[in-house]
């Protein structure tokens, strides 16, 4: 006997947005973005009030002049892409990462010493997690070589891998950096693999010789810098309280002038009183000549003097949006803009990432300290509480699993109804630990901010896809996400 099934339809989980006069859906469980037509919008409108039967939806479309075949085709497309769903609402199961995840990047903290004494530093400041007492201050060559061997072994199957040099102040151990580059390049070449390098520095110790070396070896450089002197010198100071701007300015200019093989980027830490995003951007991009400038608010307990309060973050968001509009204008003309917070997000939207964890920490990325202790990332280096083993003995799989289980989006119930979760996944593990004492806690203090920023980037993505889609192709091979 043949039976006719009556199905009830309701809306799937998506975030609707507009850009360039068109309508789009960001389908949250998949991370997929679709441009949709009037008919789809009409069905969404009809279902916004609640559930409906197939015939009701057909009637909605028929009223708009859709023929039966076209209307049922439209509903079928919406159903298969899960813009609409049938049956009882059930949470999407979240996949776990593979048990053995090959390493891609190793962050080597060549030293935990620094010649600056920036007030907000997460390694030395009031909220530090590091416990460096009694441990080596500088990494030695044996530990460094063992770390490189560790990376090559743990990244089996990957054609290209990456080392980031970090500190303390990375360049305080430049002799070791040089040796590691030579050793790792030889080793990788002998395995017919490709390795590349980058470093983060405060730029105080840059010399023409160092700049030449960095350029010759195509080493990516990120300079930690907070803007023009009156902003930069507020917290980026030497131990005697003197600002570091005057020391680094000529060195940064020489770096940008002399390093021709990789674009030089600046990384700005926003703090209370250092939130003039646009002015900072103009100075670093236009006056100093950085290729890209990225911003992040300081990681701190909320009661520190340099912590940015909610109002301050609101101001940051407004300025982010203005710069994002400028980014969009550039993109529509086919020009690059240096606001890397937008390009990073567009890159992830292009791929349609759907993260199980906020970042690669303890998955594709690990940090290693001067003592050889392994950490989930550079921010946890030298912390006994967060250690995941040692280079000499390998990764403690149980601790790694505990860290990853805590940080998994499936364990962050607050995130389960949020449309920004495919990109955010609860936010930085270290930020969470400093704020809530648990690396697996969702960073609830940023939720509204992140949602609004994600929506802004989605609208930019939609507008570019409508008006200059070719621009997005540059994101096809970014960050090894493909």
């Amino acid at each position: 006997m043949l039976a006719t099934e009556t199905r009830t339809y309701r809306l799937g989980e998506f975030h609707k947005f507009e850009g360039g006069g068109r309508q789009f859906l960001y389908l949250v469980p998949a991370g997929a973005i679709f441009e949709v037509d009037e008919g789809v919008a009409a069905v969404i409108g009809a279902l916004s009030a609640g559930e409906a039967q197939f015939d009701d939806l057909l009637a909605t479309l028929s009223d708009r002049g859709y023929a039966f075949d076209d209307a049922s085709e439209l509903l079928r497309e919406m159903l298969f892409s899960r813009a609409i769903v049938t049956g009882e609402p059930a949470p999407e199961p979240v996949e776990s990462a593979p048990a053995k995840f090959p390493l891609q990047s190793l962050v080597m903290n060549l030293t935990n010493q620094c010649n600056l004494a920036c007030t907000y530093c997460y390694e030395f400041g009031e909220d530090k997690v590091a416990t460096p007492e009694g441990k080596p201050k500088f990494m030695d060559i044996e530990t460094a070589k063992a770390s490189v061997d560790f990376l090559l072994k743990e990244s089996e199957g990957r054609k290209s891998i990456h080392i980031t040099f970090f500190g303390g102040e990375t360049l305080m151990n430049f002799p070791l950096l040089k040796e590691v580059v030579a050793y790792a390049s030889d080793k990788a070449a002998s395995q017919d693999r490709f390795i590349d390098f980058s470093l983060t520095t405060n730029a105080t110790l840059l010399t023409p010789t160092i700049i030449q070396f960095l350029s010759d070896n195509s080493i990516g450089v990120t300079v930690s810098m907070d803007g023009p002197p009156e902003l930069h010198d507020k917290l980026r100071v030497f131990a005697n309280g003197r600002g570091s701007y005057d020391i680094i300015e000529p060195r940064v200019k020489a770096l940008i002038q002399g390093h021709r093989t990789r674009p030089i980027t600046a990384r700005v830490t926003l703090t209370n009183g250092v939130t003039d995003v646009i002015r900072i951007y103009r100075h670093l991009k236009n006056e100093l000549g950085f290729a890209e400038v990225g911003f992040a608010p300081v990681t701190t307990s909320p009661d520190r003097l340099y912590a940015i309060n909610e109002k301050g973050m609101g101001g940051v968001l407004e300025q982010f949006k203005l710069l994002a509009d400028e980014y969009l204008e550039h993109a529509l003309r086919g020009e690059l803009h240096g606001f890397s917070n937008v390009s990073e997000t567009l890159g992830e939207l292009y791929q349609g990432v759907n993260k199980s964890h906020p970042c690669g920490a303890a998955l594709g990325l690990l940090g290693v300290g001067p003592s050889g202790d392994i950490a989930p990332c550079h921010r946890f280096v030298d912390s006994d509480t967060h250690s995941l083993g040692n280079i000499s003995t390998g990764v403690d799989r149980e601790k790694q699993k505990d860290f990853l289980d805590r940080g998994h989006i499936g364990a962050k119930y607050d995130c389960h109804s949020c449309f920004a979760r495919p990109l955010c996944a609860g936010g930085c593990h270290h930020e969470a630990f400093v704020r809530y004492g648990d690396t697996g806690h969702a960073n609830l203090h940023f939720c509204d901010w992140i949602r609004e920023w994600t929506d802004t980037c989605l609208r930019i993505f939609g507008t570019i896809s409508a008006q200059n889609p070719g621009f997005l192709e540059q994101f096809a091979h970014r960050k090894g996400l493909d």
Partner: protein
Amino acid sequence: MKHLRAINKKARRVDNYVASLAEDVVGLQNNQNPTPQQRPHVPMGCALAFSPGWEVDSAGGTAGLCQPVERDIYDCYVTCFWPSQVPDHLNNYPDWASKCAAATKDWRNLDLVFP
């Protein structure tokens, strides 16, 4: 897809998935009138009943079929309009199956008829 245009990589994967469903091959597919989604061509007649009984099981006998072979006789007798090799219960042999309440058990009680 026609009404949803994929604009990122993940959306293109969804799109390909939906397209692969449309290109799927279905039983009794009707290619003379292709639709975006293939639907089965449902013929009239007993071919749509797929009753076991005219078939054999994996051992070549009838013991392992999912329904008893005897049940099949009623498919022709009751539900099918097509004249077949069972007695005509409407006019000439109304009591042909009256002693057979459950075909599985009572099939031996079916009357023989001599037209």
